[in-house]
Amino acid sequence: MGTFILRRLMFLVLVLAGMCVITFTLTHVVPGDPARLLAGQHASAEEVRTVASMYGLDRPLPTQFWIYVRNLLHGDLGLSLTDRRPVSEDLGQFLPASMELTLAAVLLVVLIGLPVGLWAGVSRGRPIDHLLRFLTVGGVSMPIFWFGIILQIVFYKQLQILPIGGRLGILDMEPPRVTGFYLIDTLLAGDLPTFGSALVHLILPASALAAGSLAVVTRMMRASVIEVLDADHVRTARAKGLLPAIVLTRHVFRNALIPTTTVLGLQVGALLAGNVLAEVVFNWPGIGLYAVNAIRNLDYPSIMGVTLVISVIYVLVNLLVDIAYVALDPRISYGAGKRRT
């Protein structure tokens, strides 16, 4: 286990290095004249030269790369072209909102997807299974941004029971910032009404974001449950007279979880990317909305900052998933490179 984690960490370093190369290429090589981008379209040739020497953009590319990596290692993602603040500061401010939204969506996926997948698996071939199969195909094909707007039309415009967007109502006071997660900060401040408001504001964006992954995880869970139900140990458990509920929870559910965890980990990437779309639709002040505003202003340092941060989170989550995978299934031992069966 130790060797495995060490090897994964080494790969992580390699991946991060690769990411630096890719984002460096995108910011310094592809745009042709990054100094002009930084200085702005209407800058004079003189101003462009000043900017170029200020940011070291007049040096040879390898030197520039070295400066870029050194800055990154110091947590310096450059200055945002829109608000002239350090990108890392902006990201620090907006990241918690995105994390809160993503975690809420992950929670929905786990709490609904796993039991529903189990249900579909044990009801294989019955009408409910067909209905769920149809719904999951629909869920996978649903554009997040469109689903979000439809939810707004139904629950805000027609039924008038949920807010249209934002993290809080206009009259709510922002809680004192501790974690940046409103659900936690409001509780820490003992402000229950605002906690309720934050929760209500989270429902639609989290649902829109979760739909696609929910469908994928449900399908995967259904498939693994069907696979496990055919296994010998389940037949044995049944034959020795265990209660069906116990067979389902102890034998079927637990074993079906193993392949589903990997899929769930991959879905975190989809959720992080989907965040961008959900945040635009629900005006959710996270890094996704920040990125899209940056795109509209051609603010490259900010765009690359978001790309890098989301990718690093994604890589870390995948590492955690791989570790969880080993912990869940004792037969798998990556360290020795062998699989005991």
């Binding site: 990437g269 990317a273 899209v292 795109i295 051609l298 765009i303 790309t307």
Partner: protein, 298 residues
Amino acid sequence: MSESATSAPMLEPATAWVAPVRRRGTLRRLVANPLSAVGLALVLFAVAVALAAPLIAPADPIAMMPDLRLQPPNLAHWMGTDDGGRDILSRIIFGTRSSLLTALGILAVASVTGTAIGLAAGYFGGWVDEVLMRITDMFLAFPALVLAMGMAATLGPSLFNAMLATAVVWWPWYARLVRGQALHLKHEAFVEAARVSGASALRIAFHHILRNCLTPIIVQMSLDIGYAILTLASLSFIGLGAQAPTPEWGSMVSIGRDYFLDQWWMVTFPGLAIFLAVMAFNLLGDGLQEALSPRLRR
């Protein structure tokens, strides 16, 4: 036919004469599943709409008609009109073209690049494999949409750049797939036979190995095309794809978002088009995978 192929006719997998029989069986299995049949029908419908767009669209998709602004669905405009008075149905019909073409473009670029890299890695092995696969892993470490977003933003907002950016994040999946196949195939008897009979490395890679990778590549493409449409629509929605006034589904939803509380039709119909198109290709892809790989047939 070159010498090596004629010298080992029996060992070459008999795709030429088995294929038609197998293909007919595949189609039968495909339509036997009602969901796949629906998918196939919808895909054929979308292709027909894309081909016949200028013939069936009731109005010009681009010309502004200020008098007809924001009309709800009616007999003259089945899906209503947008803020420029343009017929939404006509825009959706023309949007089918850009969605299908760009999705195909993504898959063409991604599969050709990925196949070449995967083939080289799998066939040559050793350090070539090591280097190519580490680069592939690097690209796979990014969440696809996010990297595509960064790349499309760098290249500048346009439908073509969005397509290119998406293809750049997509090829690693094909590289992995083809490498796996190539590793498995290069020790097969017919490849050994071709090598013994003096076929060149290039010939073996393309003629013998690539040919036998085609089925998994096609299945993968059919599974991917729905996601390609979805990714492009998403990029267009955030302003990185098609630019106004090009009729494109994602950007139509984006424009409609400014009006959606009162003019619901402006977002509803283009979004529905994306949803149905993606679902059609997903159903077809699932069906094709099931019909072509015996392991999944239960």
